[in-house]
Symmetry: D2
Subunit: 383 residues, 4 copies
């Protein structure tokens, strides 16, 4: 039995790995050691831990490591503390391999704590391209990792170009598509979002169609986070379409974004927007698949929505050069441009689904690769 230790540090990462966790747990040759860390433990960022426990996963260790401040200095210190804490955790759990997910700033803590202790490191979802500190972190994770499970052909090629061993790079697709597949097969919106999740703001009438907005601060430009979110708020307010708006997750600058939202709510009191903090992943996907359009800069727009065929207005540079389907229309932080883009998406007839990020069996593919690949912690660049 190979012991596979997976570290989940944030709410969105959980959706990116959930079906793989299930598949690892079920696999006869694998044993799952699940570590929940960072903002995934905190109420302020949506209590991902509650969803995870409700889904029946056993938690091997919890790691409190987030420093208050929500600025670049506290991001760095959170990461440093994460290295120290996760070094202890891996020393104790003695896993045969550690999995680090994607490119959030604190994921490099997992990578360092594992690789420095000579534990084979597996990086999920490397090789993509965005435009800020995530970009640096993702590729640094690639260079620390021994095995790469990427989510698209485009990403695979990029990891290979960076000098990784072709025998250790697999396109498994993204487990988030597995969840999307279930929803696609049975897309009915079977709950009342406001009744089930509360939230704040107006009780909007969403039954005749609605928008969903999810906009995160872009770390390296965090002073402008407040200004950026105000553009989107103004556009949504002017459009006057019923809208569900999700608060951003933890990041330097979430203060800027959150402040912008709070300021707009108190001064403008928009009648067409209802705000949520969090939602169970399945419910969120169901909400998306029934929406007119997703607006913002979330990677969900690039990934799950491409598979689901949901129209997306992607604003700004956060998703940068990530491969995208025809469902996505890119625009900039300008009220009128955002309005125009949303109108375009809503009226478009030709939006189709794509399998760029997998066809819905990614979790099992990941478990199989983990079970069958000979893991090692030695590597050398190929050129």
């Amino acid at each position: 039995m190979k012991k596979i230790c997976v570290v989940v540090t944030a709410r969105p990462s959980y959706s990116r790995i959930k079906t793989a966790l299930t598949a690892i747990q079920k696999h006869p040759k694998l044993e799952l050691q699940l570590v929940i860390a960072g903002s995934a433990l905190l109420g302020r960022y949506g209590n991902a831990i509650d969803f995870i426990e409700k889904d029946g996963f056993e938690i091997a260790e919890k790691v409190f490591m987030v420093l208050e401040g929500e600025n670049p200095t506290s991001m760095a210190k959170t990461t440093g503390l994460g290295v120290m804490e996760l070094a202890n955790v891996f020393y104790k759990l003695q896993p045969d391999a550690v999995v680090t997910i994607a490119d959030r700033f604190e994921t490099i803590a997992t990578s360092i704590a594992a690789s420095y202790q000579n534990i084979p490191l597996i990086h999920i979802q490397g090789g993509e391209v965005t435009g800020n500190i995530d970009e640096k972190v993702r590729h640094a994770n690639t260079k620390l990792a021994d095995l790469h499970l990427v989510a698209s052909e485009d990403a695979k090629e990029r990891v290979l170009k960076m000098g990784e061993n072709p025998e250790m790079v697999f396109n498994t697709g993204c487990p988030s598509i597995d969840l999307a597949k279930e929803i696609k097969e049975n897309p009915k919106l079977d709950f009342n979002p406001i009744e089930k999740y509360g939230g704040v703001g107006e009780v909007i009438d969403w039954k005749n169609g609605y928008l969903v907005v999810m906009q995160h601060p872009v770390t390296t430009e965090y002073t402008s986070a407040r200004q950026d979110v105000l553009k989107t708020l103004e556009a949504i307010h002017e459009l006057n379409i019923p809208t569900f708006w999700f608060w951003p997750n933890v990041d330097a600058g979430s203060d800027g974004t959150s402040n912008g939202i709070r300021y707009f709510r108190e001064t403008v009191k928009p009648k067409n927007i209802h705000f949520f903090k969090n939602m169970e992943p399945n419910d969120f996907l169901r909400l998306l698949v029934n929406s007119k359009c997703l607006v913002g800069n979330s990677s969900v727009g690039i990934r799950e929505c491409s598979y689901l065929g949901v129209p997306v207005v992607n604003i700004g540079t956060r998703q940068n050069r990530r491969q995208r389907g025809s469902n996505v229309l890119d625009t900039i932080y300008d009220k009128n441009e955002i309005i125009k883009a949303i109108e375009n998406r809503i009226s478009s007839k030709s939006i189709v689904s794509s399998t760029i990020y997998g066809d819905g069996n990614s979790g099992e593919m990941i478990a199989d690769v983990l079970a069958e690949t000979n893991l090692t912690f030695h590597k050398t660049i190929m050129y």
Copy 2:
């Protein structure tokens, strides 16, 4: 004036940057902020701080961050603590750019603390190839860095292949060659090593020729460090040529190497070996240029010795695929093979100098690039 913050974390790194420090200090457009951290502050690892202060550099901050243990877990925790401490330091110094040097395990702490705080990161001596955790750390540093000052054409090509922007990659050579140049121009051994540096072991007669040995543990194989060093000790003992042996610097496993040396000294009491803990860089180069051969796995053999034309026996995988001159003969950890290799080098007539790693003005080139390049903390992979 651009404020350039350079972080030196270990004795050997100082030689790799010294002439650049001087050039930055003198440059009219640059201001030096020198941070000394990690083992460079500790007596057990040769008190690099003393040499640095003696050379007249002003220290902006000292960072104590080394955890006891000398095992992979303490390496990871030292790195995590380094991130936390250096985050504070950069927050306070507010540099315009931070320089991280080469590939020691703790150098990634500098990289994270700078890049996460949106400070342009400059990586010195990326793009080389070796064979253990250094390999992973070096390339991860490259992916976190915005500007790359590499030491050879070979390294430059590799950094470009990894997707870095050609406008931000410069082959400046290695500042250690600048020091070597001074020595080459005036190579006389003008001091008595044992009188000046004490050390332990036999007082050998070095006046008719001697070997120098410097062997570091290879981190990912640290349990075998003790066994490896014993092979070299046996070979040197059997050859019975007067030898100066340098203790290894801090690393997981230095215990293994140090234990091996101590054990051999106490049981075999070799009459032909004298042991040093440390030496001023210039004196060390002077010792090398007058030696018959350098034995071990130090990168000095690959770099400075190639410029100086000193014969080198390089043992094991530590230097791996680093570009090397014709002065180097590679061998394995086997007593007889080491003896054969040393005999080959000592008797070779054809060893010539090379400028693979620069021609002696690297420090000034580095300062000029820093002054003239437009520094930024945004980057995106080129493909």
Copy 3:
């Protein structure tokens, strides 16, 4: 010039030391090194740093050290991180003495970082008695400290009984009384609280008299914090007197208290309560001196209000055996008891001012003691 380093870690501590800071700054034999740390730097806890800078103090160092979580584990880890960070700060500032204030959980970090580095430690406001972790922390600070500046005769006796050297224990009163004195001399409420500070909740009519409530969670009972605050909310709601309510400062359990407040606001929507996050200390005192009664468990009720002659209803165990004036009526967490106690205080004719905690020149007394006392870091228990 003696360098006196004062560490302020929270908003309420600042009021307890402000006039002493001014007096140290002005004293010809003293130099102030002001360190702002912990929640005093964070927006979520009232941005004390902004008031401090506005008051014209120069900040020598800022120390980010608060871990997210607001539970006992994060309190402990915040303290540990504080020790590490403050050790660096004192190493760099090289003060002749360090001042730690009162008994918040993180103040022991200051005490350890100073005393372990052989820097004389001065403890302000030891010797009092309360009823939770503060109680342990306060007396542990006393045992780590070399000089004790206490705020009442009662406290002085207690510190002496604990075995401290009588030559090193001074009753200087509390600097918060100095601020109260200024207000007492000129008590007019010269601003409109809601216009100046915003806040949330109903715009109450406060012109004909109002209550002030300030209730903090009691750390060792943090699961009951929510329930406790609901009792007070119910009592205030039923009384239906216009009320200004202040959110609690950072502590494990503030989530409980804050949740209770938020829940009550949303479900009951009390028409007579307006909520503030923070207020400038002088404005806060002015608000108090013009109020009918202060309700809750804040030490302001015991101290400043005793000097100001403001009626106080003190609920629960938080202030425990702290010496109190006749202005204070103690009660328990029971709606009816709280109502009765408030009615008693409001109707009482006989509330007079007392000087238990000083007569208004505490700041200068503190500076004088610091200047004249021979500071040392050696001590031995007196019995």
Copy 4:
């Protein structure tokens, strides 16, 4: 079953608790959770962990927390790191009570991590008096602790005077006396120290009587540690009696002491001294009971030797006002005074055993008190 978590942070602490560990393990109402931390894990300080495992104890957690540097700053930072790490450990183990032992600098980390998490804290061996940072740490531990198990009547009175609850203070004696009792009953020196433990220095002829020296640096005077140890070395050298000398344990300044010893060895090459790094506790006691005299400043001289009736020369202030038997003669750091004192002790006929620190069943008494006492984490000073 009450879960009792005991934290051992150093070699000497283990002897102070060993029989209590055994008794806790055997007690039907108690479950032992043994945490080994700090220098007890490190080879440089005698690998206490090896002895503990050899004695058959199961280790619940290992905590690496020692920062390199051996100066006051690294002592403080080690303690801060200890708080962070032990907070995790207690969060995970969820003990019903935590035991902190005596007064080493890092023991306060255990106290904070437990008390801040509302876990009842038990302090072993409070109430004694010494003369440096240990003095402050010990009494601060007392003020953080809920239950006090002291080692002498004198100590008990002092803890009570400090305001602790008489129902929570027990004189259990010191478990180290339990070990001494076994040896006293069978005192034959049944091993050859040099054969069994190696060590360095001359092979002395100890069969006709020998001295034992154990001298630790006194933290607050660490610059004079080197000078102090040289006085003792000179005295022992001049006396020319065969001597076993033990290296100091980890402390700021051990560098000073260790340097002094190394310097003396290399320059003077004393023919009558053999040096050991460590010895199993039982062997050490056997060595003591057969010696002419113990010299230095170890608390073993005050405790075990008083029970064993071994003559002791106690030098300097380290043991200060600790209660002592008639076996101890105090002196100062002066070569001639030390010589005189040793000669006095060696020739004294009247040295008798005493039971100040217990009569040999301390371990069981401790376990019984732990089992029978109602543990709580609430306390208030008694006056």
